[in-house]
Symmetry: C2
Subunit: 219 residues, 2 copies
DNA sequence: ATTACTAACAAGCGAGTAC
DNA sequence: TGTACTCGCTTGTTAGTAA
């Protein structure tokens, strides 16, 4: 019965969590990497255990996950939430990169400076530590929901508008700092870190050194 | 290879996501509902696939999930987030109950009244619909993170303090309304619903009718 | 107390096929 | 197009046991 959660999950992703959706055993099998026959078997077994209910027609069937089935998925989800909400559970690795990022520029503007002190609780060192990370490492940040990100508002000064940015609190070698990302900019494969300290000096870092950034909190 | 995610998840829940943790094959097997031998086999197979790394001692072993292993879990988690973030994915069922809840009392106070209009976007009907739900249905609300709940602040009036409350936007038969819960109160097994409409009349409800509440948004 | 081997067994899979 | 049988075979599990 080890296949049950995987199959339920596939059905839920097809929308079967709250309504009947048309499901073909061939298509379901393809999605799960198993044969049409296996998909059929699984649906039969899961219907027998009361995890799904089915409506059979001549040209196919509709499937909906039952209350019990959803309860099972809900418990799975709760487990994953525990795993990824645990502090330090998510780590991004990359290499120290040189060059000034956009973030550096921001730190000189009082409008950002004071917001960082207010919202992150530290006066930022005047410079960012840049970390080159792969696409897959960067993708880990998508786990952090918008509500858990700290928003640095836009403001006007010197006759122009400075755009908003987003911060995510992290730790590097147990030093509290934060990722800062301009809201309207493409991902360049470089993370910019702000901190009260001169991280490069404090941690004796040089370009190319491998380094890990640990997310502090989520949800 | 269907056992892999379940086993990785069990290891992650034991803290193996970011450090080596002592794991006994007997204990792991018990947690997974399999034999000691099976747990041993799984660890061997997962080490061979590079999903975990192990340090063997004489009296046991330490296990840590690898980068690849965590990536696999992260993708699982992303799937579950999609499932449970989909509007309408979570449904609480219960029966209509009579009697005045605490919520009713609040609605008469202008302090709450205006906050509800401001934060939920409707002027509440002067009364709550009470729905008796089981413990397990109530537990579903724990999926809604604090940031997604709408906070009704406490305020002072008539020489006393009115405590804060929390709202969760929901739909009942496609009518937008909200669960309201006093912050400092025990769960009584009754959900209180506020709405712009007189729900009981609008939906022709009487005590004991079965009814479903659908969560509108999360995260 | 551990882990992990071997060997017998069971569960799950899928090709072929019927409907 | 569909679903779901049978049945041979593979994969995963476990008891017994060694280290």
């Amino acid at each position: 019965m080890n296949f049950i959660t995987a199959t339920l999950k596939a059905l839920a992703l097809r929308g079967a969590s709250n309504r009947y959706v048309p499901v073909s055993t061939r298509g379901l099998g393809r999605g799960l990497g198993v044969s049409q026959q296996t998909a059929s078997n699984r649906l039969i077994a899961m219907e027998a255990s009361g995890l799904i209910s089915r409506r059979r027609g001549v040209h196919g069937q509709d499937v909906m996950i039952s209350k019990d089935g959803m309860e099972l998925l809900r418990r799975e989800f709760a487990d994953y939430q525990r795993i990824f909400t645990e502090p330090g559970a998510i780590k991004l690795s990359g290499t120290v990169a040189s060059g000034l990022g956009e973030g550096q520029y921001y730190l000189n503007k009082p409008g950002y400076h004071t917001q960082i002190l207010e919202k992150l609780g530290f006066t930022p060192f005047n410079g960012t530590l840049n970390i080159r990370v792969s696409e897959s490492e960067m993708a880990k940040l998508s786990i952090v929901p918008p509500e858990s990100r700290i928003r640095i508002d836009s403001f006007r000064a010197d006759g122009r508008t400075y755009g908003e940015a987003e911060c995510i609190p992290v730790k590097i070698n147990d030093i509290s700092c934060a990722i800062i990302m301009p809201k309207r900019s493409h991902h360049t494969g470089v993370l910019e870190i702000i901190s009260a300290n001169h991280l490069r000096q404090e941690l004796c870092l040089k370009d190319g050194d491998t380094i890990s950034v640990i997310l502090e909190r989520r949800f």
